[in-house]
Amino acid sequence: MKLDGKTPKGPLDDKWTNYRSKMDLVAPNNKRRLDVIVVGTGLAGASAASTLGELGYNVKCFTFHDSPRRAHSIAAQGGINAAKNYQNDGDSVYRLFYDTIKGGDYRSRESNVHRLAEVSRNIIDQAAAQGVPFAREYGGLLANRSFGGVQVSRTFYARGQTGQQLLLGAYQSLSRQISLGSVKMYNRHEMLDVVKIDGKARGIIARNLLTGELERHAAHCVVLATGGYGNVFYLSTNAMGSNVTAAWRAVKRGAYMANPCYTQIHPTCIPVSGDYQSKLTLMSESLRNDGRVWVPKNKEDVMAIREGRKTGNDIPEGDRDYYLERRYPAFGNLVPRDVASRAAKVACDEGHGVNSTGLAVYLDFSDAIQRYGKSEANTMGNHSPDAATIKRLGTAVIEAKYGNLFEMYEKITGENPYIFPMKIYPAVHYTMGGLWVDYNLETNVPGLFALGEANFSDHGANRLGASALMQGLADGYFVLPYTIGTFLCNEIRTPKIDPNAPEFEEAETSTRARLEKILSIKGNQTVESFHRRLGKIMWEYCGMSRNAEGLKKGRQMIRDLKAEFHKDVFVPGTQTEFNPELEKALRVADFIELGENMMVDALDRNESCGGHFREEYTEEGEAQRNDEDYTYVSAWEWDDDQPILHKEELIFENVELKTRSYK
């Protein structure tokens, strides 16, 4: 089947304006008769549910959390991009569009990305009106900072908690609609199946996590805003509960999974410190503005550090390898995320890693402390400051800029980063892949929509910093509320969907059977142990760099793991009670299948692009794209034996495909 992205015709600048001006609308009196289910309450889900509620639809909104406010969007630190050009530094919608396409290594759809850049401006307006306390200048106007390699300052932020503040804004809007009765909220409900009637998504099966009861919820259409699947790697910066189940259940009902192998590995995370570790913590990208990344040149020094006989401070300047500055003199420590991550891996693979696991590099602020210290002393009129004064003044500047991050680092590692250089290592952070959607954000299943990180649409093979928040809110506030009308305008004569229809019956029965089966195994291994093993396989064979042989091996290992899981997993309790182990087991079962799909996708894509790095396809150690053969979106139809590939060709009418170079 050839996939139709439904990109409107016409010049890029006018596509969205013309499209939404001419699309069929649903009249207010008809909106009242239409039911919409929104699953997920992160930035995308909460903004969509509240906006649809404002428009007059009957919305039912679901989250597995105890409150909509807990969604993992809350943890985003750095900021949100918008082409406001408040800094008068040459930013524009086109520039944001172009940066995003280029940053995504030319693997995203032009029309979607341009629309994203257009509505980015409205998001900031909306958030400010909701009371999001963005950082401000002394004049009372909004402040910006620069982020991740782009040449303009377009990132809006609220200290290091931008995601939290934006999510609270959306949560508050959602709360308002709940109080007005236009949105009915279902907390602690996990979606376990999509129900299709005559090929259209007409509802879900949700499990009430407190009672274990399976509930049928019917609606005219279903919106999934259920986030990314980084936890397939077990260790990631995602929250413990982040999972692929809702999206994967949609896949099992015929939706296509697009580009699942595109995974973003964030270069600056706190390294793994032991086998018991449950998650990894991100240190904001902004640290690379002042920190220098290095490893010791000599293996003897490396060993001494690993054994605790030396610290980073004991290594003389000449014995340090500032490998990013050496390899990429033009961008130095500010190369994009994928490049920085791979370089750290290379340094550690060559045996230069600086902690006991051998998987860490230094992020060193001592130069910045010296530089700021001297400059501070100078402004205070002290032109020949002593070393202690420089250090004191410089440390104060670093503290003012990154204090909360340094504090967080010390809380976790117990080491003072003002004295000893920070240790960092890349970790899984974001998944660019997701459910395939067209220009309307509708999957190949009619009436099933996907928003935010759950879809694949805007970031191509690599996401730029501060763009995830932008996309989630763009989809929820300003895109879906229009495009959902293209489906619903044909449904105004459809009566309320009957939850007693045989399709609901079937979905509930099969879900119940699935739960019973997993509970009845009563094996000897915990869910957690399977998840950990899955993560190891994924990281080893489908992580920062991949090769055909490893991917084939990894796929087989996952298939074996799947068989073992369904034979030997132990899940206590019953399905009719609050049972967190059962929830976890269902999620891990879905992760295992997704993992196989990722291997298949990575094996199919014989090129290196963005977050997908195939060792066979390099040029002088750098990623080598193959535009000739792979300028397409891989959308996978699931099949237990061999997933089926559907391609959507990517057509670039406005930008020229170039090799990304940071040297």
């Binding site: 105890d66 807990r70 809350i74 909306q126 508050q172 709360s175 413990m240 132990f570 206590p572 609050f578």
Partner: protein
């Protein structure tokens, strides 16, 4: 390190609940929740039911985790959530008591898991600015003093974990409620419906059955985001103003 954990086990809301003692081997690099993971894996290996507890982001921002550790919500360290608390702050051989939030308005669901939906209902009663999507003017149309925006942020940093009510000897939720009232009320955008919001949110807070603030200050000490008790004073002032300074209501 070898520890003895005295953990509250309660099958469901109808069960009376009791403490159970567990031995657990931890190491000092673990977070408190990772230590709990180890304990749960031990229990599962013995085919026993693991301890239910809430957790999600494990980086101190989602507000899910909620344990009272040796009498203090989120444990002995100030400005720290349970998930950010590391075992290096405990000693080999320690006995650690772990209890759920004990607040009537947060009924226990199971073991250490409580129902905090009362907080959602307080927000739903008025903790928002009534602006529909698309109605907003340009974000820079209203300048806001930098310090004022900072003050609003300090209140907005609340993660809704409920530690304030859990720490309060009176199980009062006034720090939570006042933080949201002030976050919005301090900003010009939120000032418009401030009076209405204060009244609605205070009324809802009372209906949920939280206790009354007696200004002990325990909430601000145990708040993982260190939100100041001065927020409660500001709420009190706004409330009095909204009752006596307005011609609404009769």
């Amino acid at each position: 390190m070898d520890l003895i954990l005295k953990v509250w086990r309660q099958k469901n809301n109808k069960d009376n609940g009791r403490f159970e003692n567990y031995k657990v081997k931890a190491n000092e690099h673990m977070s408190f929740l990772e230590m709990m993971d180890v304990l749960n894996e031990d229990l599962l290996a013995k085919k026993e039911e693991p301890i239910a507890f809430e957790h999600d982001c494990r980086e101190g921002i989602c507000g899910s985790c909620n344990m009272v550790i040796d009498g203090r919500p989120h444990g002995p360290n100030n400005g720290t959530t349970t998930c950010q608390l590391h075992m290096r702050f405990f000693k080999d051989g320690d006995t650690i008591t772990v209890e759920p939030w004990r607040v009537k308005a947060f009924p226990v669901i199971k073991d250490l898991v409580v129902d905090r939906s009362a907080f959602d209902r307080i927000i739903q009663s008025g903790g928002y600015i009534s602006v529909n999507t698309g109605q907003a003017q340009d974000a820079n149309a209203i300048p806001i003093e930098k310090d004022l925006a900072g003050q609003a942020f300090d209140a907005a940093t609340c993660i809704g974990c409920g530690a304030c009510a859990a720490a309060c000897p009176n199980a009062s939720a006034m720090l939570f409620t006042s933080a949201k009232i002030n976050h919005l009320g301090l900003l010009p955008q939120g000032e418009v419906e401030h009076s209405k919001r204060v009244q609605a949110m205070v009324t809802q807070m009372d209906e949920e059955g939280f206790g009354m603030c007696s200004n002990t200050g325990a909430c601000e000490v145990d708040c993982p985001k260190e939100i100041s008790i001065s927020n409660i004073a500001l709420m009190n002032r706004s409330y009095v103003g909204s009752v006596f300074g307005s011609d609404k209501g009769s």
